[in-house]
Amino acid sequence: MDSLQIGLQLTLFGMGIVFFLLAVMALLISLLLRFDRAPAETMEESAPSREFPEGLDADALAAITIAVRAHRIVRRKQAAPAMRKHQPGTLPSRWVGIGRTRQTASWRPIRRG
């Protein structure tokens, strides 16, 4: 039973340290997030009810928007052309995206049981 005692000690210390480290990280990230301002900016960007500038219809605006975005990408690529290969974006973020979309959905639940 001596080794079992060591095992218990390992469990105690191990879980303790893991909890401690993650708590420290959680604290540090919370501090870090204090400096992240303007959390709602991205939503505003794609607000659907924006008014069009005078003399521009929706099609023209769409074309301009696309052109501006394409231009930004080109500029960014020119700044460091050899470095770029992939656009950002990962597998999990697709799920995140779905989750975010769903948070705002509002159909009636289908209850089981």
């Binding site: 080794s3 079992l4 060591i6 095992g7 218990l8 390992l10 469990t11 210390f13 191990g14 879980m15 340290i17 893991v18 909890f19 480290l21 993650l22 708590a23 420290v24 990280m25 959680a26 604290l27 540090l28 990230i29 919370s30 870090l32 997030l33 400096f35 992240d36 303007a38 959390p39 709602a40 900016e41 991205t42 939503m43 460091a80 050899a82 470095m83 770029r84 290969k85 992939h86 950002p88 990962t90 597998l91 999990p92 973020s93 799920w95 995140v96 779905i98 989750g99 975010r100 769903r102 948070q103 509002s106 159909w107 009636r108 639940p109 289908i110 209850r111 089981r112 049981g113």
Partner: protein, 372 residues
């Protein structure tokens, strides 16, 4: 030189029942990989490696054979699992964790399986190093399992790795019954508000750096594991080295995965694998997995109690490293009770935390064992 029939037939005369059994094991692994698509990227090479290793007189695992070279080039010296971690880091989005830093503790709870199984293995008579290696299956994380078990008990590398990878595929099968068993209908229906927040690029870049420096300082033995993971993530979030990020997550990751799988499979020789303790490992491994989930749920129930019933305990079961499968299972089981309940974002936070925590736990275990 004289060609003799005996020499020609030496392959046939060296067939052993154990070898044949292991060939069957290899074919079963291939079946799981190909027909069932259980982590085929790993199980297919492992199965092939096991077959190569158990053909009679196999020259591929002899000194200087291909699988011997690959094993020495990247498994024995721990290089391959670390390179894979760089690639995983380069593919992982820790955003959900950063949005919800409090979820981090759930990831810690989800590592209890490591230590619980370690205790059980000790009771069953495994020695301390073996028990710790078996416990690490509870990290449910392939590279961590390979890294730790290769340092502590290299003779168990094969079965432990097979467990780590094949059980990871069983998340959608194993997780839901435990969730239903340990929570009440009412608990599962708890809704949790979610407010989206934008994580700045700066925070995303500082996060991996912070983890490297804090964990690396407090638990030096964890530096290789967590450092590799976070290096990949730093490169990804920096956005300035797409070529390196791409190489890490594609060319390097694919090549190393193939080599690692073959090399791990080649350790599954009949004489090393066909022991009662292998069966023990397979059973303990699945227990480790269940203990992880149960501990996560229990801890989440405790949080629910503290918060006065505002915390859905299901989320606790996502505090493991099977990312993002585990979070998706939480969402699905939650919806069974209340179709409009969207737990995904909270579960993603716990799940990302589980990934970080399992790597840290691997390092902590190594530190406590005095290895590394």
């Amino acid at each position: 030189m004289n060609v003799s029939l005996q020499q020609l037939l030496q392959g046939v005369t060296h067939i052993t029942p154990g070898g044949v059994f292991m060939l069957v094991v290899g074919v079963v692994l291939l079946y799981l990989a190909i027909a069932k698509e259980y982590e085929p990227m790993l199980l297919l090479p492992i199965g092939a490696g096991a077959i190569f290793a158990n053909l009679p007189l196999s020259p591929m695992i002899a000194e200087g054979g291909m699988l011997d070279i690959l094993r020495k080039a990247g498994v024995e010296n721990e290089l391959f699992p670390l390179l894979i971690f760089i690639g995983i880091g380069a593919m992982t989005d820790f955003g959900p964790l950063l949005e919800n830093p409090k979820m981090m503790l759930l990831g810690a709870a989800g590592q209890f399986g490591i230590f619980g199984t370690l205790l059980l293995a000790l009771v069953l008579g495994f020695n301390l190093n073996e028990a710790a290696s078996i416990g690490i299956i509870g990290a449910i994380d392939g590279p961590t399992s390979i890294y730790v078990s290769n340092l502590l008990a290299p003779h168990l590398l094969g079965p432990i790795t097979v467990c780590a990878y094949s059980y990871m595929s069983l998340v959608p099968v194993i997780q839901p019954p435990i969730m239903r068993l340990l929570t009440t209908k009412k608990e599962r229906a708890i809704r949790m508000p979610y407010t989206q927040r934008t994580i700045s690029r700066r925070t995303r870049i500082i996060f991996p750096l912070l983890v490297i420096i804090v964990v690396g300082t407090l638990v030096p033995m964890a530096t290789p594991l967590i450092g590799s993971l976070m290096l990949g993530n730093l490169m990804k979030e920096s956005g300035v080295v797409e070529r390196l990020t791409g190489a890490s997550s594609k060319e390097i990751a694919n090549t190393v995965t193939l080599f690692l799988g073959l090399a791990v499979g080649s350790t599954m020789r009949a004489d090393a694998f066909l022991k009662v303790q292998t069966l023990g490992i397979l059973v303990l491994g699945i227990l480790a997995f269940c203990l992880d989930i149960a501990a996560g749920l229990t801890f989440a129930k405790f949080l629910n109690f503290l918060s006065g019933g505002k915390f859905n305990p299901l989320i606790g079961s996502a505090g493991i490293s099977a990312f993002p499968m585990s979070a998706r299972v939480v969402q699905k089981v939650g919806q069974e009770e209340d179709f409009e309940n969207f737990l995904l974002m909270h579960a993603m936070g716990a799940n990302a935390s589980g990934q970080v925590a399992s790597v840290i736990a691997g390092g902590v275990l190594l530190a406590l064992m005095g290895a590394g």
